[in-house]
């Protein structure tokens, strides 16, 4: 009969520990991502992954390259005469040092083109048009979402009201755009109800 070592229980425990430890190290090396940041405790590559996400919105600058004429900021030729600038008062900003052009801003200058036309990514890629820039909604709710009268709106924000002479007795289906150019609402309003101005394609 083989003599059993008096320390065999220790050897057994040792083997179990070694197996356990190797298992732990192997599993851990798979489970912990390679780029793990041990100081801040996150997967470093997350930042790279996030940076690669597509930019759906281009911002108003991105439309300018192809749609200069519809941009909410109109570029006016300036002959370099000081009086020209004064005529428009604060609506005019001299764009560059040579005084060759001045910029007149429309009431809707602060609006994002894409909030009415949908994100750039569906419409253009690089310098090519890839799809129609839909006008998301031509109905009056398009305007009312911003201009509807609400008690919680700031009081100085222009809201649709019956106080304006032309707004009285409007029929339900009369489009706001009949009188207001969506890009330059105040200009067209002064020209009142001329239907032909915006065409019939509405």
């Amino acid at each position: 009969m083989n003599k059993i070592s008096p320390r065999s229980h220790l050897y057994q425990l040792g083997i179990v520990l070694v197996v356990f430890f190797t298992g732990f190290v192997v599993i851990r090396s798979y489970a912990v991502p390679a780029s793990w940041n041990y100081n801040a405790w996150y997967r470093g590559d997350t930042l790279k992954d996030l940076k690669k996400l597509p930019l759906n919105y281009g911002g108003n600058e991105s439309c300018k390259s192809c749609h200069e004429e519809v941009s909410l900021v109109e570029v006016v030729e300036n002959q370099g005469e000081e009086e020209f600038v004064d005529e428009f008062e604060d609506e005019i900003e001299v764009e560059n040092d040579e005084h060759t052009e001045a910029v007149m801003e429309f009431e809707h200058k602060s609006l994002n083109c894409e909030s009415c036309h949908g994100p750039l990514i569906t419409h253009a890629k690089g310098d090519e048009k890839i799809g129609d820039a839909i006008v998301m909604d031509k109905s009056n709710s398009q305007c009312m979402i911003c201009h509807g009268q609400l008690i919680s709106r700031p009081v100085d924000f222009p809201q649709f009201s019956e106080d304006v002479e032309k707004h009285k007795d409007l029929e339900e289906q009369t489009l706001c755009m009949k009188c207001h150019d969506p890009h330059d609402p105040i200009e067209e309003a002064e020209l009142d109800e001329d239907e032909e101005l915006l065409g019939d394609e509405l």
């Binding site: 930019l55 609006l111 994002n112």
Partner: protein, 264 residues
């Protein structure tokens, strides 16, 4: 035979004194180790507050001006389209507060995805004042969600963005519970935690967050506090900002202008 106590003391007359000495020196060593041990063991250079690995180049901040918000929800729609957020959950949303003589009425129909309808006549008749409050992740300097995450899926990036790693996230929802601003949610399509990233991908590529871009009335601003030219730096100079839930000590980086105490 059992020895008596006096016999033991005779056998080892110093044992009581020895015991007290050992007790004292042991307690002293333990105290010293507990106080200085972590400092000695800490890696040189590494901040012990691990998430404060701040970049010194930029300090991004977000400013929301209550006096300018018109509650149109353009930001909510832009966020959804930019980040493909499912319809039922919101990375940013707009709340309406109506302060009446009977109490405060708060609502946010569909997170203001389709803007707001006027409140009903009963509330309107009692209203004293009303305003909109856009809400989103506050990108805290001390984010409770980062502390709560058991796997290191949510973290504070070196640029100061509180981000979530959707490949590493288990979807346990601890962070959703931990956030005092209700800014986190479990994405119903990916089944992991999701949140506002301040459009990390846009900012790192030199653009503004989609909600800031979409806001028609400049109620939302984003910029670098360290750039003295930026609009957020100017607002800091004026020192009129407030933060949500100051008492939580989360040190948010979303600053509000014109916030009323009903919202805090």
């Amino acid at each position: 035979m059992k020895p008596s106590v006096t016999e033991i003391n005779k056998l080892n007359p110093d044992s009581r004194r020895e015991f007290l000495k050992n007790l004292l020196s042991g307690a002293t060593t333990a105290t010293v180790l507990m106080v200085y041990g972590p400092r000695i063991l800490a890696r040189p250079g590494a901040d012990t507050r691990f998430w404060k690995e701040k970049s010194t180049e930029r300090e991004w901040a977000y400013v929301i001006d209550i006096n300018k918000c018109i509650g149109c929800g353009s930001c909510v729609r832009a966020c959804k389209q930019e980040n493909n957020v499912p319809a039922t959950v919101f990375r940013t949303w707009v709340e309406r507060y109506v302060i009446t003589d009977e109490g405060v009425y708060v609502d946010s129909p569909d997170g203001a995805l389709e803007g707001f309808e006027e409140v009903n006549a009963e509330i309107r008749d009692h209203a004293k004042t009303a305003f909109f409050v856009p809400k989103m992740c506050n990108h805290c300097a001390e984010p409770p969600c980062v502390q709560a995450c058991p796997v290191g899926a949510t973290f504070k990036s070196p640029e100061g963005f509180v981000l979530n790693d959707e490949t590493h996230c288990l979807g346990c929802g601890y962070c959703v519970q931990a956030c005092p601003y209700g800014a986190r949610f479990i994405n119903p399509e990916k089944h992991v935690s999701d949140k506002c990233t301040w459009c990390y991908h846009r900012v790192q590529n030199g653009k503004l967050p989609a909600c800031v871009e979409a806001c028609p009335n400049k109620a939302r601003l984003f910029g670098d506090l360290k750039d003295p030219e930026s609009e957020v730096a100017r607002i800091f100079l004026e020192d009129k900002w407030m933060i949500l839930k100051d008492m939580m000590h989360t040190e948010p980086y979303c600053f509000y202008i014109g916030l009323r105490r009903e919202v805090l």
